[in-house]
């Protein structure tokens, strides 16, 4: 025993050190994880995360909010980020479908009351598109009577229900039968192709706790700027050209954001302009007035790391192809909306092209959409007729305000309409194009890759089938009433 005592001590110390190292990974939140602790965190992950969550894999606590908690806690984490979007989408398969006792026999075969029933994380080997980890023919488990109810579906492959451009599991807002019939007659291009205009001024003016006393809505002159010694002639000149200066938003509004925790903040945003000067304000300064846009930004792949307190996303960390000269740029509001110009036209095209370097982005310059954008920018076409990256990927949508009204919002969650891409039809495509054409175009992945140069080579039969069924019902009705009267 004495001979080997030293070995025991060394082994004990090494084990304790290893345990402490791994234990620290479990206790330290993702935001505070130093670089040398990261391998320990990844050690505990049973597999790589899906594409949607890969960016925040160090923030285990984002989903595993408490240790030893059950599936219900995991479910709450899913709903915390994705619940609002599903509700808005009029989820075709909400949780209530699976908790209803009358569906008990189907639930016994497939209980999809919880997200993780179909979207298991950390299992890259079984993960399909949209993070689905079930075999793709799962629809048939409940919908076994399809051939009887819809003879038109006879012969269709089991795994194609959700990938044929006809049905989505959750969001069918652009695909439901009556919608197809309603827009069956739309041509490829609508008579008045124009995007919904932005209306930020109206939305801002309606914010109840806007700091109107300190920043009344009026145009500011060079002499009014309150940046003091911090302002440079360049920054002042840039600021004067912006809507900020035209609307009474002075330097202090962003550079002296309200100090967190102050009692005054709770009453209103009155404390904006009182805090200490910050040279580079983060997204919280913007969020004071642009709360909805910031929320969208933080929800998706540009800002989800910031939302978890992690270091901001950089092109070098991305899995999509990015420009090599953009590798270490960090993503924030200002990276697209360069301060102090806040040029939204630049943010809509050049900002994207500054980092993204994939075939779709590279093809944009040769696309008909870009030609329209150039025309609009040069004044040769009306506002809203040009198509920028943002027109489709950050569309202008109708959103609810906290005061219970509605406003037009630029959707800063650029992942919101990406997958399945039929989600893009209503907010973007249908502003200018007919429904059938939009469905076909989005189903042609080669066309999407070359940024819509040319016509769709694919035809989705959903609208034809809807019309055939409606005509069949009409025929039967007419025959029945003829039979009655004849």
């Amino acid at each position: 025993m004495g001979k080997h005592a030293r070995h025991w001590v060394i082994w004990g110390a090494a084990s304790a050190l290893g345990a402490a190292y791994l234990g620290a990974a479990l206790l330290v939140p993702g935001a505070k994880t130093p670089v040398w602790l990261r391998p320990a965190k990844v050690f505990f992950a049973p597999g790589e995360m899906s594409a949607g969550h890969r960016q925040i894999e160090l923030a285990c606590e984002a989903c595993h909010t408490s240790p030893f908690a059950g599936r219900e806690t995991l479910q709450e984490a899913c709903v915390g980020c994705h619940g609002a979007e599903l509700k808005e989408a009029n989820d075709t398969h909400p949780r209530s479908k699976f908790t209803d006792p009358r569906n008990a026999d189907r639930v016994a075969k497939l209980d999809a009351a919880e997200c993780i029933a179909c979207h298991v994380e950390h299992r890259p080997e079984i993960t399909h598109d949209e993070g689905v980890t079930l075999p793709l023919g799962f629809c048939f488990v409940c919908h076994q009577d399809i051939a009887k109810e819809r003879p038109s579906h006879a012969g269709m492959a089991y795994a194609t229900c959700a990938s044929a451009g006809c049905h989505n599991f959750h969001d069918n807002r652009a695909l439901y039968e009556d919608y197809l019939l309603r827009f069956a007659a739309q041509p490829r291009q609508l008579e008045k192709p124009v995007l919904r205009p932005r209306a930020l001024r109206e939305a801002i003016e309606e914010i109840a706790d806007y700091p109107r006393e300190r920043y009344p809505f009026s145009s500011l002159a060079p002499a009014d700027q309150d940046g003091g010694t911090h302002a440079t002639p360049e920054s002042t000149r840039d600021w004067l050209e912006t809507a900020h200066a035209r609307s009474g938003v002075n330097c202090s509004a962003c550079h002296r954001p309200a100090v967190a925790g102050k009692e005054a903040n709770k009453a209103a945003k009155k404390a904006i302009g009182e805090g200490p000067w910050i040279d580079r304000p983060g997204e919280r300064a913007c969020a004071a007035c642009h709360a909805d846009e910031t929320k969208g930004f933080l929800a998706a792949k540009h800002g989800m790391r910031l939302a978890q307190g992690l270091a901001p996303m950089r092109p070098t960390d991305a899995h999509l192809p990015m420009r090599s000269d953009a590798h270490d740029k960090t993503l924030s509001c200002a990276s697209c909306h360069s301060a102090h110009r806040f040029d939204t036209a630049r943010a809509a095209v050049e900002a994207c092209q500054g980092c993204h370097d994939d075939p779709h982005t590279r093809s944009y310059k040769d696309s008909p959409h870009y030609r329209l954008w150039l025309k609009e920018r040069s004044g040769d076409a009306l506002a809203g007729t040009g198509v920028s990256c943002a027109s489709c990927h950050m569309p202008r949508v109708r959103a609810r305000t906290p005061e219970g009204g509605s406003r037009t919002l630029v959707q800063h969650n650029q992942n919101d309409t990406l997958r399945p891409n039929e989600k893009m039809i209503r907010p973007a495509c249908q502003s200018c194009h007919g429904l059938a054409f939009s469905i076909d175009a989005l189903a042609d992945s080669a066309l999407v890759t070359r940024n819509f140069r040319g016509s769709p080579a694919v035809h989705i039969r959903s609208m034809d089938m809807a019309r055939e069924r409606a005509a069949e019902i009409e025929r039967k009705r007419a025959a029945k009433s003829r039979g009655k009267s004849g």
Partner: protein, 186 residues
């Protein structure tokens, strides 16, 4: 001795029967009936004072299944279903739905034996509720089915002319389907 023992047994049985009511406890049947009274009244108010009045009398707005897209009123059946879904989120134990032997949406056709029997029973005898115990997913439920009648012209006008209706000759006051309430039994 024997009579004495039987007296005790009888007294005990009488107590067990009367005790729930006497002690203020509600039976499954009473709970289902009470829930139905509220559901039926709320939906009738909506159908008559909102849908029928504004759509058919004043003609200022339509009711439609796709009420958001068409800026229309939700259908009474949807108002009912949204309530049921919101109730389910609160996890109160009981559940309810609107079913029919002639559903527009096939998912609302009767599935379990109790539903099938019950829906037919309320068609045959609309003024009587139908009660049955059911085993679903390994749990026991007290299931009650109540006749759902066409309380307003709005009901039959829409259902008789709908693209997907299996029945086109509903009359005012006829039973169109049934409200099914399930209360879990311990």
């Amino acid at each position: 001795m024997r009579t004495g023992k039987w007296k005790v047994v009888l007294a005990g049985a009488a107590f067990a029967t009367a005790a729930p009511a006497a002690l203020g406890q509600v039976s499954h049947k009473e709970m289902a009936d009470a829930l139905h009274a509220v559901m039926e009244s709320d939906r009738t108010v909506y159908t008559r004072t909102v849908v029928n009045r504004l759509q058919n009398e004043e003609k200022v707005i339509k009711a439609s299944e796709h009420f958001k897209d068409e800026k229309a009123l939700p259908l009474p059946a949807q108002m009912f279903r949204f309530g049921a879904e919101m109730v389910a989120e609160k996890k109160p134990g009981f559940s309810y739905s609107l079913l029919s032997l002639w559903p527009i949406n096939k998912q609302n056709a009767p599935k379990t034996a109790a539903e099938k029997t019950g829906l037919q029973a309320v068609v045959d005898k609309p003024t009587e509720a139908f009660y049955q115990e059911e085993m679903l997913g390994g749990k026991k439920y007290f299931t009650a089915v109540y006749a759902d009648r066409a309380v307003s012209p709005a009901c039959i006008n829409c259902h008789n002319n709908h693209k997907d209706t299996p029945k086109t000759d509903f009359k005012l006051g006829s039973t169109m389907g049934g409200v099914v309430i399930r209360v879990p039994m311990k």
